[in-house]
């Protein structure tokens, strides 16, 4: 009996330890694997309150806070922002909850707990739908909401609408910090993008972009709304919801911003030389291969939404940071790279290259060597680096530098069509797979005309397709531009030639070229695998 009992006890203890071990392990892992619920509700006004992070590791999960819901609920009780957000000494709304500054851990935590719980209780007492009162209801471990908040920004249409409403009173928004007087002041001519100063995080007394925008935008909107003036939104969703963003009116034909920007200007190669000052120093000699680039600033303003697209840290000329040899100011990116770096969205080549992924461009451009900005031909450099005509020698007759740039820029050839139709072969018969298929009739002219249509409205393409034959160069590659380029089989022959390992055989050359281009242009028909559409099956003789 006794023996049996001790055995039972032993087994019991063993089993207990086992179960405990499994439980601990599985619990530990539940903590690790926190994946957002795929069925979560998407909200653009979701704020995960994790303020306590600034005081160390979070003890509980961040609080799920739906800002819009609170604004609405408070509005029903005739309360506004001041219910939660205080005004600071400069009469600005603090976007922290019921405080101006994060003082210490205990105070802030108590502030939240007291503030939220009191209000929730009172609301309930008043017979309205109050918020949760239990810990887990706010500090949710598996929140059933997720944020689809979209960042908001000021594009030039919105900027124009603001300048118009505010009657060009730039000082309403723009300011600079005066180091001496330590106050924010408006300086005419020094307006710039907010983000140049207000970054991701608050640095000393310079608040982060998020705070800055909410303070400036929402503050002003509310002020105006209070005065019954026309004003922008003050609700989260109006700015941050994807659908609501589409409802924001967009002004076509926006007048240029008045920041004293040039129309056409030579890209500066040195921050010291003021081009207009020394006209005789500027004309490039014939030996100077890298002639100066006339840049159409005005046209680029039209194509882009914000100045930030190019002027990513300030509104100065590129060379002020990206010096010829690279400088710490420009993170050691040299001027050359700042213009030519293909994987940088701010560089000329990078931005132009990103245009080539459009279906009408991708067909040709994706098969062109992607290094060297899509073109390894030195002549291509001259599309931008245009040779200026030799100076006349008479300084009085010489135009000033900006005019020279404009003239030079205007002198570029623009080609938006290729050879006349009758010079383009209509059909090309391809007879490579004669053993299995009948000859393929390639509608050569139709293809060329279709490509032409694709680039017709593109000024970018018109400039860079320098010659009538440039458009032909994707298929008729690796030989000089010519109205009668060599035939495919003059280069492509048998496959897997050791002497030309890179060069596909003739069959693959055709298929790669045709199918590759069709795929990249998104042409669904004919399907790549539908052989007989291009070459009919050979019937047995």
């Amino acid at each position: 009996m006794k023996k049996g009992k001790s055995l039972l006890r032993g087994t019991g203890i063993f089993g207990g330890i086992t179960i405990l071990a499994i439980l601990i392990l599985s619990l530990r892992v539940q903590g690790v694997q926190q994946v957002p619920d795929p069925h979560a509700e998407m909200r653009s006004d979701l704020v995960m309150i994790d303020t306590m992070k600034t005081f160390g590791k979070l003890e509980r999960s961040p609080v799920v806070f739906l800002h819009g819901q609170h604004t609405e609920a408070l509005a029903k009780q005739n309360q506004d922002c001041s219910a939660c957000h205080l005004l600071d000494e400069k009469n600005r709304r603090s976007y922290k909850f019921k405080r101006i500054k994060d003082t210490d851990r205990q105070t802030v935590m108590d502030l939240y707990h007291a503030g939220c719980i009191t209000c929730h209780t009172e609301t309930k007492a008043a017979g309205l739908k109050g918020g949760p009162l239990t810990c887990g209801a706010c500090h949710q471990d598996n929140p059933q909401v997720a944020s689809d908040r979209r960042p908001m920004g000021m594009d030039k249409s919105l900027h124009y609408r603001h300048t118009k409403t505010l009657e060009d009173k730039c000082e309403k928004c723009h300011h600079v910090y005066n180091e001496q007087t330590k106050v924010l002041e408006y300086v005419k001519g020094q307006e710039a993008t907010c983000r140049y100063c207000h970054g991701e995080v608050t640095v000393e007394n310079r608040i982060d972009a998020r705070q800055a925008f909410h303070q400036a935008c929402v503050g002003c909107h509310q002020e105006r709304l209070a005065k019954n003036q026309s004003a922008g939104p003050d609700m989260c969703v109006r700015c941050h919801d994807a659908d609501e963003q589409n409802l924001i009116a967009v002004v076509e034909d926006i007048p240029r911003m008045k920041a004293g920007q040039p129309d056409v200007v030579f890209i500066k190669r040195s921050p010291d030389i003021e081009p207009q000052a020394t006209p005789e120093a500027t004309p490039a000699s014939d030996e100077d291969l890298l002639t100066r680039v006339p840049f159409n600033h005005k046209a680029h303003e039209e194509f882009n939404d914000t100045c930030r697209v190019c002027h990513h840290t300030n509104l100065k000329a590129c060379v002020s940071c990206h010096t010829l040899n690279g400088d710490e100011k420009g993170r050691h990116v040299q001027l050359e790279q700042s213009m030519h770096k293909r994987d940088a969205s701010q560089s000329c080549v990078g931005c132009h290259g990103s245009q080539q992924v459009q279906p009408q461009c991708a067909g040709c451009h994706a098969s062109i060597n992607q290094k060297f900005g899509g073109d390894s031909n030195p002549a291509a450099c001259q599309t931008c680096h245009i040779k200026s005509p030799a100076p006349s020698g008479d300084p009085l007759l010489e135009p000033d530098d900006r005019t020279r740039a404009a003239l030079l820029h205007e002198s570029r050839t623009r080609v938006s069509e290729t050879y006349p139709a009758d010079k383009i072969p209509e059909k090309v018969e391809i007879n490579t797979l004669a053993d299995q298929y009948q000859p393929a009739q390639m509608p050569h002219r139709k293809i060329v005309q279709s490509l032409e249509r694709g680039i017709k409205n593109s000024k970018l393409a018109a400039v860079f397709h320098r010659e009538a034959g440039t458009l032909c160069q994707a298929c008729h590659h690796n030989s000089p531009v010519s109205q009668k380029p060599p035939k495919c089989n003059s280069c492509h022959g048998q496959p897997f030639d050791n002497r030309q390992p890179v060069r596909p055989g003739i069959m693959a050359a055709y298929h790669q070229q045709c199918i590759g281009c069709h795929t990249r242009m998104g042409l669904e028909k004919p399907a790549a695998t539908d052989c007989t559409v291009c070459h009919a099956k050979k019937t047995a003789p």
Partner: protein, 359 residues
């Protein structure tokens, strides 16, 4: 059991040697085998594959495989992912990839012809051979049909004729070894309309692949699958999406298969060499223990006997002494008694004389 130690060790030595000899020499060297020089391979470029199944059709034709259930130009079979089986040495599968929505991607599956094949390392009749042309060939005339090659292959390539009762074979791509020897291209490569399959020397193919990645950095993932996987394979792959999206395993590691079993094989020598010595030692110890126990036992018996003798002697002596003592006591008692008697007689005589005097 009277085997002389010398004889015994001799036997064991022979046994041990017979097990250890004949092990492949490269199982424990610092040499790295990176393929036969000038061996051939195929580069599959996923960005060129259009999923036309021409390679499958050609493979079927040149290897004289059974006709498929559905013809090769029926592309509806791509709806489901397939694998190779005994009647199909290669298949092309279509993959929907999240990073390239709406753009079907294809991958061809066949034997990768490893530089150091797992199947060859696992085969206990050496039916698989990595030839100098690059192909891993199979010799059905020695195959027992144990299917360990199928367990071993990390790419799940070898297949088996389960339907054959008595003459089942392992079936897999041969890299068209017979055709290569005739100077022809492998069937699939020859049929590929887009040169998604490039045939050539493996070294050249690696250079070509690198060049393609360099020239079109946006088009390719910067990795040549098969350059190092499982110690390198003769088939190489380029892709525009991560290889795992094409159901290719990226967790295989770069160790060639033979290195995985190297440790276990070298254990044979240790066991065959050490065990007999240890076990004989243990035997000797246990035997010696028995012997010692035996000796101790007999000694104990002798000692016990001796002890018993001494005890008897002592007892006798003690008894004698006792007897002596008792005798002496008796005499003393007798003397005492006699003296007392004499005294009494004297007293009586005196008293008698007194009365006589008084009277």
């Amino acid at each position: 059991m009277s085997i002389s130690r010398r004889k015994f060790l001799g036997w064991l030595g022979t046994a041990g040697l017979s097990v250890t000899l004949g092990r492949s020499a490269h199982s424990a060297t610092n040499k790295h085998f990176s393929g036969y020089p000038d061996s051939n391979g195929v580069l599959f470029d996923g960005t060129h594959c259009i999923g036309c199944r021409k390679c499958e059709a050609s493979c079927n034709k040149v290897n004289e495989l059974p006709a498929p259930d559905r013809p090769f130009d029926d592309l509806a079979v791509l709806e489901k992912n397939r694998r190779t089986h005994s009647g199909t040495f290669t298949v092309v599968n279509r993959y929907a990839v999240a990073s390239a929505p709406g753009k079907p991607l294809y991958r061809k599956i066949q034997c990768n012809h490893c530089l150091e094949p797992a199947c060859a390392s696992a085969c206990f009749v050496r039916a698989f051979v990595k030839t100098e042309t690059g192909a891993v060939t199979y010799d059905e005339s020695v195959c027992v049909g144990c299917r360990y090659c199928m367990i071993a292959c990390p790419f799940e390539i070898p297949t088996y004729e389960y339907g054959e009762a008595l003459t089942p074979r392992i079936r897999k791509c041969t890299l068209c070894h017979p055709r290569i020897e005739k100077g022809l291209l492998p069937g699939c490569v020859e049929a590929c309309p887009t040169e998604a399959l490039v045939y050539g020397k493996r070294d050249d193919l690696i250079r070509l692949a690198r060049q393609r990645i360099f020239r079109f950095p946006d088009r390719y993932v910067d990795h040549i699958y098969g350059e190092h996987e499982m110690g390198g394979t003769s088939w190489l792959y380029l892709s525009g999406v991560p290889f795992r999206d094409l159901a290719m395993r990226e967790d295989l590691g770069n160790l060639p298969a033979p290195s995985l079993t190297k440790g276990a094989l070298s254990g044979v020598a240790i066991v065959a060499g050490m065990w007999p010595v240890l076990l004989t030692g243990v035997y000797a110890i246990s035997k010696r223990k028995d012997k010692i126990a035996e000796t101790e036992k007999s000694e104990a018996v002798a000692a016990a006997r001796e002890h018993a003798d001494a005890e008897t002697k002592a007892a006798v002596e003690k008894a004698l002494a006792q007897a002596k003592k008792e005798k002496a006591k008796e005499i003393e008692l007798l003397v005492k008694k006699a003296l007392e008697e004499a005294a009494a007689a004297q007293k009586e005589a005196a008293a008698k004389s007194e009365t006589e005097e008084d009277a």
